[in-house]
């Protein structure tokens, strides 16, 4: 079932979805947003791509197996959580520092981990469902 309108629209939409998902991810600490919502938005983007152009095309666009993305997210979150330990804080406490005037933290890495785990988990499921059912 290929629809020209959907395929063309999806091309524009997916870019918008991805940019917006990153925006939501990064602003999440102080304004509505965060890794979970961002991950859902990005997953929606690729889901639309999969419907418009097929799962094989969506997998190519993603470049990496969604399972790997999900596990990578988990590793990021774990690394962010354990990073505090050797620095003398309790595990999973946020660690903050400043680089060139910008505040950076392990919390952002954790949120990126959430983002990747959500994207990976949901796309694993959607792609597998589309391919086998």
């Amino acid at each position: 079932m290929k629809s020209l309108i959907l395929t063309t629209g999806a091309r524009l939409l997916i870019a918008l979805f991805l940019v917006f998902s990153l925006y939501v991810l990064l602003r999440g600490h102080n304004a509505p947003g965060g890794g979970f919502i961002g991950g859902l938005i990005a997953a929606c983007g690729f889901a639309i791509h999969a419907f418009a152009s097929g799962v094989a095309e969506a997998r190519r666009a993603l470049r990496v197996d969604p399972r790997v993305i999900g596990v990578l997210g988990l590793v990021c979150a774990l690394a962010a959580g354990l990073m505090a330990w050797p620095l003398g804080f309790d595990p999973f406490a946020g660690v903050w520092g400043e680089v060139a005037g910008y505040k950076v933290s392990s919390v952002l890495l954790f949120d990126i981990g959430v983002y990747l785990a959500v994207v990976g988990g949901i796309l694993t499921l959607i792609f597998a469902l589309e391919e086998t059912l």
Partner: protein, 748 residues
């Protein structure tokens, strides 16, 4: 896998690296010796879960340092040995990894300063030993024995966890250093359950009667594993725990009676069974049981003699037993058999192995001037202080005499006398396999001649860790006394047993046939449990989604309904709301009715989506844009997932009878009613804002964030979020596996 097969040398490299790692650890531990002997233990602590009072803490005192030195030192030799023994095995790299993980778990266990830390490492040793026993996983027997060892020790571990939690409740802390510095738990109301649970853990791990049956079966493991786990280290974990908790749990009638009985029965029974074996490795396995029983027996006591004997014998046993296991492996490697009947006169072809076997065997037999002699003298000196001393002394005498005989079978018989008929001509083992037994055998001699060398370490353990005022002295010659007379009796009896061993073997075998075995009983237990699980699965798991849902909803309605009836909460019905909210509510309710359409799945999915979006709109209206956005995205994605899955199903055909439909409607109505009343009851209460206030006040000052929802997710409750992420990912990976399998089946 294939690349491993073509270049086996890469596996060897890992073996050498692991040996170096273990050696480096041993050096680090050795550097701590002066400080610990000076009476100041080393403490290392990191916060783990401070809100639960759990820390990742380590304590290096006399007791833990002795264990750590044995584990890392013997570990280094074992890695070297394994590299020679099975370095060209295609999966040697994996083997080294398992063994290294095991070594680190074991070190964590003996060094832990926190009860939870100790428990975690305790279970890790069970898991890694499962992987090692079952290393030859193509063999069904190896898999079964690995599972048996894991089930027995892990079940004991769970009992131990319960015991530890009770201990922390009784003493007010998970910190072992603080518990040990306290007054002891012997008079606490929880003492009895704590003792039972802790002993269950220790006895299963150290294979004390009646949990002894798994240890000989664990000999399914490759020989380096047997030499390491089942002689020198893992099985000593239980003994370590008993020694560690001796000051806070020991010296009560229950402690003394249980440890004496279990230790004595295990020691005597195991040494009788050891003499019966013709397979060298199995014979050694039983003598390990004897040693563990003996150490447990002496930990029952509260006198310096008994405790010094326990600790000294522990060191003695680790040295000679690891050496002898490695010797047996070398014999197997060099001749192709471990059957004592086919071996003899190997000393000419395997001189180094023979020398190491002679040294270790002499220590095992308790001959002077080996450390084993000193250990045996201490056992006799200590057994006089145990009650009932006549019985204990007689038991120790029998066990030692049998050890003497088995030492002859293992270390003497294969190497001297007439040559046997092994499967292939004997050849000496490579140097990697000789280093371990030769060094350990020689150490037995060094520590025997220089008996004072071990004394400071034993002193630090018995006085520093076990709370005694002094330790007994280690002397090669303690004068003419009772232990000397008992030693002479041991040698005489042992020689007699060695010479008549063939006839004894037949007698013991005949006796055993009339006794019920533990292993068949174990298999029956597992079979019964499997049948029970199958029966309850057939009963509960009907495989029909509708019935699972009905069961869940019945429970929900019952729980909510019972609470409402019992509590009779005040319900205030406040219907004043802006028109917009009424409109959203109407829209949501209309969506709910759409899901009732029995003819079209797509309209059902659309109905569910409408309800979800209605709820999201309400969230927006009440100022929760985060939750609303999430809700919208989740609704969108679930509509997609439902769409993919359900639209592929065949069309809906109504098969329910009228009364079934009526029952479902009643259930749905009941759930809806109870839920509505509950929500109304909750909103009728004044909102408790203290948690909200806490986050409002602290989200920026503590976590540098203004978005409270996000700050809670990624900072305040980051650990929970991490758990949820794991669940999300595992769920989708599980679904992936199921779907792909189904897909593969359908393609066939």
């Amino acid at each position: 896998m294939n690349s491993d097969m073509t270049e086996p040398s890469s596996g060897r490299l890992w073996g050498y690296l692991a040996a170096l790692t273990a050696f480096a650890l041993a050096v680090v531990f050795a550097l701590w010796i002066p400080q610990v002997q000076g009476g100041s233990p080393v403490h290392l602590t990191w916060n783990w879960a401070p809100s639960l009072g759990v820390s990742l803490g380590f304590l290096v005192d006399g007791l833990s340092l002795i264990f750590a030195l044995l584990i890392s030192g013997i570990g280094a030799l074992i890695f070297l040995y394994a590299t020679g023994y099975m370095g060209d095995h295609p999966q040697f790299g994996r083997f080294v990894l398992f063994l290294l993980l095991f070594m680190l778990s074991m070190l964590g266990l003996v060094l832990a300063r926190d009860l939870i830390t100790l428990f975690v490492f305790w279970e890790l040793t069970s898991v890694t030993s499962y992987l090692l026993i079952g290393f030859g996983h193509e063999n069904a027997q190896a898999r079964r024995n690995a599972l048996q060892a894991m089930l027995v020790t892990a079940a004991g571990g769970l009992a131990l966890l319960a015991g530890f939690i009770l201990m922390a409740t009784a003493s007010g802390s998970y910190d072992l250093a603080r518990i040990l510095a306290g007054e002891g738990l012997q008079d606490h109301a929880l003492y009895a359950p704590i003792l039972i649970l802790v002993l269950l853990g220790a006895f299963t791990k150290s294979a004390q009667f009646p949990f002894h049956f798994w240890l000989p079966n664990a000999m399914a493991a490759p020989t380096p594993v047997s030499a390491y786990l089942h002689s020198a280290t893992m099985v000593k974990g239980g003994v370590y725990l008993l020694a560690r908790l001796h000051p806070v749990l020991g010296d009560t009638p229950a402690w003394v009676a249980t440890l004496t009985a279990a230790g004595l029965v295990t020691a005597v029974m195991a040494s009788v069974l050891a003499l019966r074996q013709t397979d060298l490795k199995t014979a050694l396995a039983y003598t390990t049981l004897m040693a563990l029983g003996t150490i447990t027996l002496f930990l029952a006591g509260g006198s310096p003699y008994a405790l010094t004997a326990a600790i000294a014998f522990l060191v003695v046993h680790s040295l000679y037993k690891a050496a002898l296991f490695m010797v047996v492996g070398a014999i197997d490697h060099g001749t192709g058999t471990r059957d004592v009947a086919r071996l003899g006169g190997l000393a000419r072809a395997m001189p180094w192995t023979a020398a190491a076997a002679a040294l270790a065997g002499a220590s095992m037999a308790g001959l002077p001037p080996m450390i084993g002699w000193i250990g045996k003298e201490l056992l006799y000196a200590g057994s006089a202080t145990l009650a009932p001393s006549a019985l204990v002394t007689a038991g120790v005498l029998i066990a030692n005499a049998l050890m003497f005989a088995v030492a002859g079978v293992v270390a003497l018989r294969p190497f001297w006398g007439t040559p046997g008929d092994p499967p292939h001509a004997p050849h000496e083992a490579p140097w990697q396999m000789l280093a371990g037994p030769v060094i350990l055998g020689a150490l037995g001699l060094v520590f025997g001649l220089g008996a004072g060398l071990l004394q400071p370490m034993i002193d630090a353990t018995v006085t520093g860790s076990l709370g005694q005022t002094r330790a007994a002295g280690l002397h090669l010659w303690a004068g003419v006394n009772l232990p000397l007379a008992l030693s002479a009796a041991t040698f005489a009896l042992g020689t007699a047993l060695y010479l008549t061993r063939d006839r004894l073997r037949g007698m013991i075998g005949g006796l055993l046939e009339r006794l019920p075995g533990f292993d068949p009983g174990w298999d029956r237990l597992l079979d019964w449990f499997r049948d029970f699980c199958a029966w309850q699965a057939r009963l509960i798991q009907t495989g029909r989604l509708r019935e699972y849902l009905a069961a869940s909803f019945v429970v929900l309605a019952l729980v909510l309904g019972a609470t409402l009836i019992l509590k009779r909460p005040v319900i205030v019905l406040d219907l004043s709301a802006p028109l917009l909210v009424w409109l959203i509510a109407g829209f949501t309710i209309a969506g709910a009715f759409l899901t009732l359409n029995p003819h079209s799945r797509i309209s059902n999915i659309a109905g569910i989506g409408t309800v979800g979006i209605g709820v999201a709109l309400i969230f927006i209206f009440f100022g929760a844009p985060d939750v609303a956005t999430t809700q919208l995205m989740v609704e969108t994605l679930s509509a997609v997932l439902f769409g993919i899955a359900m639209l592929r199903l065949p069309g809906i055909v109504e098969r329910r009878t009228g009364s079934q439909r009526l029952r479902h409607a009643a259930l749905a109505g009941a759930v809806g009613l109870c839920m509505t009343l509950t929500v109304l009851a909750i909103t009728s209460q004044p909102l408790d804002r203290h948690i909200t206030t806490y986050f409002e006040e602290n989200s920026y000052s503590l976590a540098h964030g203004l978005n409270i929802v996000n700050v809670i997710l990624v900072d305040f409750r980051a650990f929970d979020t991490f758990g949820e992420l794991t669940v999300v990912l595992l769920a989708s990976l599980g679904a992936y596996a199921v779907l792909k399998r189904r897909g593969a089946r359908m393609r066939k």
